[in-house]
């Protein structure tokens, strides 16, 4: 009997040891005597002091505050009121960029549920607006089916569905283009197809010519085209950069085409994991590009009259990231203050999977906040 107890006792030792260890870890998290801990808190505190939101309250889906008008329209079309959607798009008029944004909003909705779009198309056959939303929605639908995983984690079924819907989307784009007149958006909408279906450079340039002929400075067209020229899709780093340099050079201040160059540099950095961001973003060309973008942004903001205007936000997000790496903390903080709260856009979404990219964002933002406060203290101390 005693022997049995001995054996049991010996067997019990590792279990007891593990239990003790668990208890220790549990207690440790409560007491938190980490030497690093004060630093972490300091970042969050500094951010709070500057009026920035805690990580838990960040919106990870949108680049900016929700658009109440758009929300109302979506509510209406979900109820079957397709005419609300038709009006919403028609009201954009000949502001091609705004029209593109609205097509995207309606397209996203129609990719999920399209009863209202089918009703719209049945009620108004040959309607250019409905055809455009239809084309856009097919492209979103194709990507929805493919999913956002890498190729190796995507199933045969997903790829088959992706390619089948993309083929249909191409027909839908052709229809929208035939009806679209001088609207560049039917061509801009087709650009993601060029990536997914692998258009030849010649075919893509034909598409591109159609778009810029109608709107030479359409930001969305340039952003889409940049994606096509990137090495990860159908081009190369060199083609992407030269395209972006040209775009940035031809834009007038306020057209925000300098953003295309920033995006090209960012794509380059993102594709080269071994690059040291601390060095890369401080290269003279990058410093110059950011300076030019700041001027462009200032002009656009003056024109818009609202520093938080929706069309400025993508630029602000990108600038916040780059100014941070350039150690220009004051300038970066100016952008952070205007974008904080809604971070569902590049560059943040690239940095890690959802929702983890919020951590990367807050780490960068809070570090900036601490440097800004330090600088302010040093300034008051010397004064």
């Amino acid at each position: 009997m005693t022997v049995l107890l001995w054996i049991l006792g010996i067997l019990a030792l590792p279990v007891v040891a593990f239990g003790l260890y668990l208890g220790f870890v549990f207690v440790k998290t409560f007491i938190k005597h980490d030497p690093d801990a004060p630093d972490e808190n300091a970042g969050a505190e500094a951010a709070a002091k500057l009026g920035l939101l805690p990580a838990g309250r960040l919106d990870l889906d949108r680049p900016g505050a929700a658009d109440p008008a758009a929300e109302a329209v979506l509510q209406a079309v979900r109820r079957g009121d397709w005419e609300a959607g038709a009006r919403f798009l028609a009201e954009a008029g000949r502001d091609w960029e705004e029209r593109g944004r609205r097509v995207s909003i309606l397209g996203h909705e129609a990719a999920k549920e399209d009863a209202w779009l089918l009703a719209w198309r049945a009620a108004r056959p040959g309607d250019a607006d409905a055809a455009l939303v239809n084309a856009e929605s097919m492209i979103y639908l194709a990507w929805e089916i493919r999913g956002s995983m890498q190729a190796k984690n995507t199933t045969r079924e997903q790829f088959d569905g992706f390619h089948r819907v993309l083929a249909q989307a191409r027909e839908a784009c052709a229809e929208a283009q035939a009806l679209g007149g001088d609207d560049p958006n039917p061509y801009v909408v087709e650009m993601p197809l060029a990536m997914g279906l692998g258009y030849s450079h010649k075919d893509f340039n034909d598409l591109w010519d159609q778009a810029v002929e109608r709107a030479p400075h359409h930001l969305g067209a340039h952003q889409s085209a940049l994606q096509y020229w990137c090495a990860k899709w159908r081009g190369s780093h060199e083609l992407a950069l030269s395209f972006a340099r040209e775009a940035a050079a031809k834009g007038a201040p306020g057209q925000l085409l300098t953003l295309v160059l920033l995006e090209a540099h960012f794509e380059f950095e993102f594709a080269h994991k071994d690059l040291d961001e601390d060095e890369y973003y401080k290269r003279p060309e990058l410093m110059k590009a950011v300076d030019a973008a700041l001027l462009d942004l200032a002009a656009a903001a003056a024109e818009a009259g609202d520093p938080k205007a929706r069309r400025l936000l993508p630029m602000r997000h990108m600038l916040a990231y780059m100014l941070y790496w350039q150690d220009r903390y004051e300038a970066a903080m100016e952008q952070f203050k205007l974008i904080d709260g809604h971070i569902g856009t590049a560059p943040w979404t690239y940095l890690a999977g959802k929702p983890r990219f919020a951590e990367r964002y807050t780490a960068i933002r809070d570090f900036t906040a601490v440097r800004v406060l330090e600088a302010a203290e040093a300034h008051t101390a010397t004064a």
Binding site: V3, E113, E144, D160
Partner: protein, 547 residues
């Protein structure tokens, strides 16, 4: 290490396989003996435990006794009946420097092998039999067949040393033992068999008589011991693997010497092609009528393979040109076939490219009679009682009518669940008309991605398979009404001949009707127009269960 030293090492390891149990028992005994010096309460406990442990070891010793090699089902070929075959087999054995087999059996496998009934665990030579698969001979030329045979003999020569034959035999024996364990312990086989009960007729038809259920593989101790032996066995195979691969190349070289270089290389290319072609033949031709309890005409069950090979010569040539890419297993003594082909093709030209071009079947007195004789020898009784078709088109027609008659697709099951009544095409069309197809589709077996999808994405996920099923369903409906015909062909898949004149236009009309019925805004009218009026539609239209 010299080849002799390697062979000696292999021999010691081989003995170890037989001695493993004794060593395990010895270890247990040693522990018991040591326990005598411990306090008495400990001693008894150790003894008890060691007895418990010894039981599976002793069982394991008995496990090593393999069942006798069973002769595969087939037709024995006597020297009187097949003098030319026997003469060639003997001549080749003499040239290879090994014994000729004592019996030759014609089997239904795409394989040729020499088997030896081992004595003393493979230490002594035993009775030899040669198994020749009729499908293999159907596809090989005479020279290729000689090459295959010469290669098989090569395994019994076992390299350059005197110990070679013993090691070679031992390795065959161990491989058999491991295969035997796997077969018994592998529960999957049993599960699969249960699932495929319906298809068992086909399984049996592939030349496998039904096996008796063997439950010795179920016990945990058995599996534990099997694991130990399998581990040792694979260890042994691995240790002697370089020898084995070298031997494989040596056997290829000897085959090239005896049968010609080009014949050997082309035979190596041919066998994987034949093997997959034969699987395809069984699935798509020979067993096609089984659902209708119909067999091909006498002698055609195995005889038809030759027709298929002749008709698909061009397709096969493409398959031969590319060598199969194989995953290399560390335990497989066979080097990848691509490597072997390259090694043989690298040999100097022996000018025998034109040797033995005729079919290997030419060695037989009456190949057609043999194909007919093979049927009762290898096929299950049940199949032999089936109706004999008049010709191949008859096989196709009967088989397709039977298959389409008892159509049971996931959509049938989903519909039955959804409507709680018999799954009929009119009922399905009604669900579509009412706009509930996509709710119904939620009851189909779906992939993870498809079932997570919503709205349009979900529809796009499901639509392709729905299209396929609905098309088949309509064809089945037409078949039930006797409105279909089938076109038989050796060169391509059977094609359905739809009613209504031009077959191409009829096919397109069917596709268009199916697409319309499954569109976002569904329209079942074109499909209804294609279908003959059924009682459910001409009657009250609601009483589906009475149909």
């Amino acid at each position: 290490m010299s080849s002799t030293l390697r062979a000696v090492r292999a021999l010691i390891l081989l003995a170890g396989f037989q001695l493993l149990s004794l060593v395990l028992l010895g270890v247990l005994a040693a522990i018991d003996w040591a326990a005598v010096y411990a306090p008495s309460s400990v001693t008894t406990k150790v003894w008890l435990v060691s007895v418990v442990l010894a039981v599976p070891v002793v069982r394991g010793m008995f496990m090593l006794r393999l069942p006798d090699i069973e002769e595969p089902p087939g037709v024995p070929l006597t020297e009187e009946a097949e003098p030319r075959l026997w003469a060639m087999v003997r001549e080749l054995a003499a040239a290879a420097g090994t014994r000729a087999p004592d019996t030759i059996i014609l089997t239904a496998e795409v394989n040729a092998s020499v088997m030896e009934r081992p004595r003393l665990g493979g230490l002594l030579p035993g009775r030899r039999s040669l198994h020749l698969g009729l499908p293999l001979l159907t596809g090989l030329s005479e020279a290729q067949f000689r090459s295959v045979l010469a290669h098989e003999y090569g395994h019994y020569i076992g390299g350059d040393t005197r110990l070679g034959p013993i090691v070679a035999r031992g390795r065959l024996q161990i491989r058999r033992t491991i295969a035997h364990f796997h077969e018994k312990a592998d529960k999957k086989v049993a599960q699969e068999r249960a699932e495929q009960e319906k298809k068992s007729a086909r399984r049996v038809a592939k030349g496998k008589k039904a096996k008796e259920v063997d439950t010795t593989g179920a016990g945990a101790t058995y599996r534990a011991m099997a694991k130990i032996y399998t581990w040792y066995g694979t260890f042994f195979l691995r240790a002697s693997q370089s020898t084995a691969r070298a031997e494989e190349f040596a056997a290829d070289r000897s085959a090239a010497r005896l049968a010609g270089r080009d014949a050997t290389a082309s035979a190596l290319r041919e066998i994987p092609v034949l093997s997959s072609a034969y699987d395809f033949y069984l699935e798509s031709y020979a067993t096609l009528g089984l659902d209708a309890r119909t067999m091909p005409p006498h002698g055609a069950f195995f005889g038809g393979f030759g027709d298929l090979l002749t008709a698909r010569e061009l397709q096969l040539a493409d398959m031969r040109a590319e060598l199969p890419v194989q995953q290399l297993s560390p335990y497989d003594s066979h080097p990848p076939i691509g490597e072997r082909v390259r090694a043989v093709e690298a040999l100097p030209d022996d000018g025998r490219a034109d040797d033995g071009r005729g079919s290997a079947l030419g060695l037989f007195t009456d190949p057609r009679a043999l194909a007919a004789a093979l049927e009762p020898a290898v096929l299950a009784e049940e199949l032999l009682g089936f109706r004999r078709a008049e010709d191949w088109p008859d096989v196709l027609r009967s088989g397709m009518t039977a298959r389409l008659g008892e159509l049971d697709t996931p959509l049938h099951r989903a519909l039955a669940v959804y409507t709680k009544s018999a799954a009929t095409l009119p009922a399905l069309l009604q669900v579509i008309d009412e706009g509930h197809l996509w709710q119904l589709a939620r009851r189909l077996p779906l992939s993870e991605e498809a079932s997570a999808a919503q709205g349009r994405a979900f529809r796009e996920f499901v639509r392709p398979s729905l299209e396929g099923i609905l098309r088949t369903w309509v064809i089945s409906e037409l078949s039930k009404q006797g409105l279909l015909d089938w076109e038989f062909s050796w060169t391509q898949a059977a094609t359905v001949v739809l009613p209504g004149g031009d077959p191409e236009a009829a096919g397109e009309a069917l596709d268009a009707a199916v697409t319309a019925a499954l569109a976002d805004v569904p329209d079942t009218a074109p499909l209804r127009a294609l279908l003959p009026p059924t009682p459910a539609e001409t009657g009250t239209g609601t009483d589906i269960e009475s149909v």
